[in-house]
């Protein structure tokens, strides 16, 4: 079985397995809302993946977009009685607006400097939410109801299972869109920027413009995840905007494997389920979380999925005599 076909079969298996999560979950003490959280965090980690895994930009501020999505949804419901889907759209719009505002500043720098800028500008939104107590509820955050959905005369109350299937659909649309995006000419340009931005510029492409679009797409993903997350827990709070939250998204991505389409889901699953299990045993969950960061960086920087794929690739190369072909490929690609 070729690796591509193995990947396809595995993907379909995951899709089918996830389809029955609300039925299987309770058997292993996994709440349906926890599985929804996994899917939503995976979308947020995809947003980091586009910037870090594919464009090579150390994005450490994506929680700003996530939190803006959550606040956009929450505030629009609280103050304007926005409907379920309108709240999501407003959440996404808030995140996009945030990206439009800070994007031009982030573009000014690359490398670790870019990372610092994403943290710093992300914190602006945190402090705004934290300080504007009369509008946002300040440090305590804000509760809001999950609106009913009116569909063709019937009114549907979105319970946890319906919410899960909604997240499921959204997740797979996001995943497939991501898959197409990174295989498009645009995606290839991003990968080229990761490998050698100077060369991309010499080829006559304005790399700033590509990075800006990547930022906007990342904000779209994070904002979508944030808006849905807000609706899931019916609550929005400043720490959703904080750079610690960004760090958690980065960790999920690194855990799963950056630069791979499924990495974010694998990472989010380990993160959320791991947290769920460990925090019932000990309150010092943060030691495990921090230890996980350190272990990831020192032990397996390619992540769980990345390491597995590399191993499979190496085996395939050994088995079907393609070592020569691979070697030939190395030569034909100028370094």
């Amino acid at each position: 079985m070729s690796l591509q076909r193995l990947g396809l079969v595995a993907s379909l298996a995951v899709a089918v397995l996830l389809l029955f999560a609300p039925q299987i979950g309770p058997l292993i003490h996994l709440d349906t809302s926890i599985v929804s959280e996994v899917l939503l965090f995976a979308i947020a980690a995809m947003s980091v993946n586009l910037l870090l895994g594919y464009t090579g930009l150390p994005a450490f501020g994506n929680a700003a977009f996530f939190g803006l999505g959550s606040y956009g949804a929450g505030l629009s419901i609280h103050y304007f009685n926005a409907g379920f889907f309108l709240a999501i759209v407003i959440g996404i719009a808030a995140a996009l607006l945030g990206a439009l505002l800070i994007g031009p500043f982030l573009l000014r720098r690359r490398g670790i400097y870019f990372g610092l800028l994403t943290i710093a500008f992300g914190q602006v939104f945190y402090f705004i939410a934290y300080r504007m107590t009369n509008i946002t509820g300040g440090e305590d955050g804000m509760n809001f109801p999950r609106p009913l959905v009116h569909l063709g005369g019937t009114t549907i109350k979105i319970d946890d299972v319906i919410f899960y299937y909604l997240s499921y659909v959204v997740f797979f649309i996001a995943l497939i869109a991501f898959w197409y995006l990174v295989r498009s000419p645009f995606g290839h340009t991003l990968i080229a920027i990761k490998q050698n931005e100077v060369r991309v510029r010499y080829l006559g492409l304005n790399s700033d413009r590509f990075i800006f679009v990547a930022l906007i797409v990342a904000a779209l993903y994070a904002g979508l995840a944030g808006a849905l997350y807000g609706l899931l827990i019916m609550f929005t709070f400043p720490l959703a905007l904080d750079w610690h939250q960004s760090g958690d998204f980065v960790l999920m991505l690194i855990l799963g494997g950056q630069g791979s389409v499924w990495g974010p889901l694998v990472g989010a699953l380990i993160y959320v389920v791991g947290k769920d299990i460990i925090s019932t045993i000990t309150p010092a969950w943060q030691i495990f979380l921090g230890g996980l960061f350190i272990a990831c960086v020192l032990g397996f920087p390619k992540g769980l999925l990345g390491t597995t794929i590399s191993a499979l690739l190496a085996r395939e190369r050994e088995s079907d005599d393609s070592a020569e072909a691979a070697a030939a490929l190395e030569i034909s690609v100028p370094r």
């Binding site: 914190q123 934290y130 921090g290």
Partner: protein, 290 residues
């Protein structure tokens, strides 16, 4: 309004000196090894708690001010040898991630040892009063902090410009391979450099504990402004970190006086303006870290 302005300006300068000392430590480490230390704030907190532990066991504040930073440096060097060392030469992003993890672990460990709420740590009685400066009265402890931090900054400058080791350090920032080829053990250079960065954090940590309070996350409150100072001052420039610190400190204290709600956001606005006008930072060199 004016009678509030002068003391507040002075407060801003003290805050700025804190930021500058923390930013200097960050810059030293960043310039030489290209690693970024998100756990810098945790070292500040550690020094504060160690000083607290010493003082509660009966030692004097002065002894704690001397010993706690040195103990922190010892911890810092162990961290450098075991965790930071494998990161040299790798993508700077990994150091960001690793030290972020380290800060999470440290925070939880402090919480387990010293409790989630802050502990009281007050300056010694000899510095508890106020000092007459002629044009205004000012708390003695703040005055002492200002002097101590200025001494630290001057000492670091002299060390870097007037000793052989400082010369090697500055040369290694420019071309560490060449320095290694000329017979300097760069690994030891990296270790001592990290130690100096942590020493600065340690001194600032003990001093800050008496002024800004001591809790598991108190050091992190100085970390983010310090990063902003590095960006404003310009990466690669130590003088820039100092200038950035003073600017941010004054900006924060003045907005606290006039628009309290915007006090945290002020420094980010300052940073945005600097980035627009001069992307490399006020004193930064072109081309360092992109």
């Amino acid at each position: 309004m004016l009678e509030h302005l002068l003391p507040q300006l002075f407060n801003g300068l003290i805050l700025g000196a804190f930021y500058a000392v923390v930013a200097l430590g960050l810059s030293l480490i960043m310039n030489l090894t290209g690693t970024i230390n998100m756990a810098h704030g945790s070292f500040l907190t550690l020094a504060g708690y160690l000083a607290f532990a010493l003082v509660t066991r009966g030692t004097s504040f002065w002894f704690a001010l001397l010993v706690a930073p040195l103990l922190t440096v010892a911890v810092g060097i162990i961290v450098e040898r075991t965790l930071m060392r494998p990161l040299y030469g790798r993508e700077p992003f990994y150091s960001l991630l690793l030290t972020f993890g380290l800060s999470l672990v440290a925070e939880e460990v402090y919480r387990l040892i010293w409790g989630a709420n802050g502990v009281p740590f007050s300056p010694p009685p000899s510095l508890a009063g106020t000092a007459q400066l002629g044009f205004m009265t000012f708390p003695s402890y703040r005055l002492f902090i200002a002097l101590a931090l200025i001494v630290v900054i001057v000492a670091l400058t002299l060390f870097l410009t007037h000793t052989r080791f400082g010369l090697r350090l500055r040369a290694a920032v420019l071309d560490s391979e060449m320095i290694a080829a000329l017979g300097t053990n760069t690994q030891i250079l990296y270790m001592i450099n990290f130690g100096i960065g942590i020493l600065l954090a340690g001194i600032a940590g003990v001093l800050a504990a008496g002024l800004l309070g001591l809790s598991p996350t108190s050091g992190n409150a100085l970390l983010m402004p310090a990063f902003v100072c590095v960006i404003i001052g310009g990466m690669g420039s130590l003088f820039g970190s100092i200038a950035g610190g003073v600017l941010v400190g004054v900006a924060i204290s003045l907005t606290t006086l006039y628009i309290p709600a915007a006090s945290e956001v002020a420094m980010y606005i300052l940073m945005a303006i600097v980035l627009l006008v001069r992307p490399r930072g006020l004193f930064g060199e072109e081309g360092i870290f992109g």
